[in-house]
Amino acid sequence: MNMTQTLNVPMSTSGSSVKTDSGQLPAGNASTNIKLSASDVRVFYGQAEALHGVSLDIVKNEVMAFIGPSGCGKSTFLRSFNRMNDTVAGARVTGKITVDGRDIYDPSVDVVLLRAQVGMVFQKPNPFPKSIYENVAYGARLHGLAANKSDMDEVVESSLRRAGLWEEVKDRLEAPGTGLSGGQQQRLCIARAVAVSPDVILMDEPCSALDPIATSIIEELITELKKNYTIVIVTHNMQQAARCSDRTTFFHLGDLVEIGDTAQIFTNPQQKRTEDYITGRYG
């Protein structure tokens, strides 16, 4: 579980080159541990390039945090890992992204399967306007993950347990998911993502719409989920990044500026821009 500690690889944080393969790990390490890998990823919205050639690797069972000022391309980059950008009219992705070494933009890849493997939790809790049970069961049913009702009950229960919501909702599974509190709704969304057995969970500012207590519950949950999943979390809350991530990547204006161990990024940033950001000079 603490493999990330051993990954204190020398990032090319020497200051000068920003757009090199700064996030990529040395090849030797890659074969076994690298879960997600991006190289020279550019995303265009129409003519505008929102992401200018980003490369990085994300290791199994680590929590990677993306930080950076608003509009710097964190969500854009995150959404290219499960091809959610495909649903945006005019969006175009170039470069290469692999999950378990497989190029996900290869024409042979089924987006539907990819999204089952790489789950997503959105900024605003967005449960379906259906029952709590149905919210969790929906994805599992789509992918045929439960053979019968009791299988499904099991999937729903274990997913809700993983999302730390079971005890709160076990007596009202038929109640509407939209009737839960904001924090519970977000955990329901996590359960929904977990129910299709992904191995990566992408979270786009999952706590930005939540109160501090709900936020801390989700943060604890992330630490818990790390045992089973690789997690990429976008946040503009730097304490949050510091609390629950293993490594942190700082983006600015569509560039990857710096990547490194969370502790190092927050205590000893190598880049001027990173330092300015974390000391609150902009953002």
């Binding site: 649903t87 959105f122 306007p129 789509l142 992918h143």
Partner: protein
């Protein structure tokens, strides 16, 4: 804080109070305007409904004879109704049956009516023309139909309700100036005198009549003219519109909104749909006449053509309304579904569409109600023709409710048809209200799911 003030808090308070007063005055004024507007609208609606109801409701009750009609075998001289004999060829039986009915055609059923009237007005037999002017001319066919249905009534006496002539109805209801000279009255002096007498004797009663609901339009027997043909025509067209415009419109809207690439072709389509919605309905009538009647050779005056024309007219409404309903569904629902691996179609069918259904239903029903009230395009495809039968299929000749209103409104027997027109309007409005209540009910039903 931003404005310099040297009087401290008291100064600010005075300013706020002054502005508060102004704001409250504005608010009151605005509220009064609103209430005034609502009252004006209500008054207009009330006077509209008041006129229509006060004119239309009385014409559901018509002057009706309650007569004991003796089916005198002397008058109805006819052999027994033929029955199919064992081993007889159907063609042969038909021939005999036809001959029997033809024979029945020579029977003078008016004589039966005159005999019945004579019991109340002994002079009726002396001036049969004046007597027959009392009862609407269609009723002797009604007598014949009774004999055809059951020949055993020959020789019996039946108490029958027979509609009075339209002019008698007008006279008795006081819808014509009784002081007009003879040459400006529709009825002879003798007939008018008898009508008054029979009414006083209780032979003519003002009774609720189903004629307006059950009969088709008529020109020979005005008192019996009804809406049934127009109603069926409208109903068939409504069905056609629902069956065609709803699936096509909703499917196009879903495709355009959820699946179509955004490029100049779809932009062009969108602009065209919006323009189509603004095309005056009479233009659709022209199009229908050119395409469906001249080109596809569909029958003229038929509900099928009317339905197709109204479908064309309703489609843009349904598409636009459905699209705006779909637009209003939060994109987060789509993202959520796609995020757990639903395909585009699954996301739409499982999540977007169910949420859009109340809106789509409302839009559809309002579109259909609009089509139901449409007159202009129907005039151009021949649905303003006089049709005295109830259409059995959408390919038969027919009119429609609004067209019937238009036709009756122009009938020369104004004193009678003014009421009939309002009655038809009441029926049309009732149908509309039913549709709209249905829309509201469906909306409630689907919305309360969450």
């Amino acid at each position: 804080m931003n404005t310099p003030n040297n009087k401290g808090y008291a100064g600010i308070e005075a300013k706020v109070k002054a502005s508060l007063k102004r704001r409250q005055r504005e608010e009151t004024r605005f509220r009064l305007f609103g209430i005034g507007a609502v009252l004006v609208a209500l008054a207009l609606v009330a006077s509209l409904f008041g006129t229509i109801l006060s004119k239309g409701l009385p014409s559901f009750w018509q002057s009706t004879f309650v007569l004991d009609v003796h089916f005198d075998p002397e008058v109805v001289q006819i052999g027994p109704k033929p029955v199919l004999e064992a081993g007889e060829a159907p063609a042969q039986f038909n021939e005999r049956d036809l001959a029997w009915q033809m024979e029945l055609g020579f029977v003078d059923f008016n004589q039966l009516l005159i005999n019945a009237l004579t019991k109340h007005i002994p002079a009726a037999a002396d001036s049969p023309r004046d007597a027959m002017a009392l009862i609407t001319s269609g009723e002797h066919f009604a007598l014949r139909d009774r004999v055809v249905a059951d020949p055993s009534i020959i020789g019996k006496t039946l108490r029958l309700n027979l509609l009075a002539d339209a002019n008698v109805d007008v006279w008795l209801k006081g819808n014509i100036d009784r002081s007009l000279p003879d040459d400006r009255q529709q009825l002879s002096a003798q007939t008018r005198e008898w009508a008054d007498k029979l009414s006083a004797d209780g032979v003519i009663k003002n009774k609720f009549s189903t004629a307006i609901f059950l009969n088709p339009d008529s020109r020979s027997s005005l008192a019996a003219a009804g809406l049934a043909g127009a109603f069926m025509g409208s109903l068939m067209m409504m069905m056609i519109v629902i069956l065609l415009a709803v699936p096509i419109g909703v499917a196009s809207a879903i495709y355009l909104e959820e699946f179509a690439p955004k490029n100049w072709i779809t932009d062009l389509i969108e602009v065209n749909i919006n323009n189509l919605a603004a095309v005056p309905s009479i233009v659709f009538g022209l199009l229908g006449a050119a395409v469906f009647i001249l080109w596809f050779k569909l029958p003229i005056s038929a509900p099928i053509v009317g339905g197709l024309v109204l479908t064309l007219m309703t489609l843009p409404t349904v598409i636009i309304a459905t699209r705006s309903t779909l637009k209003a569904i939060p994109p987060s629902i789509r993202e959520a579904a796609l995020g757990v691996g639903a395909s585009k179609v699954q996301a739409t069918m499982h999540h977007v569409l169910p949420l859009a259904i109340p809106g789509i239903l409302t839009a559809t029903i309002i579109g259909v109600a609009q089509a139901l009230g449409e007159t202009a395009p129907l005039l151009l495809i021949g649905m303003s023709a006089f049709v005295s039968s109830i259409p059995a299929t959408p390919f038969d000749q027919s009119t429609a409710l609004p067209v019937q209103i238009f036709l009756w409104q122009g009938n020369e027997l104004r004193n009678f048809f003014e009421g009939r027109t309002s009655a038809a309007i009441i029926v049309l409005l009732a149908l509309m209200l039913t549709l709209n209540s249905l829309a509201i009910w469906l909306r409630r039903r689907y919305e309360t799911r969450w």
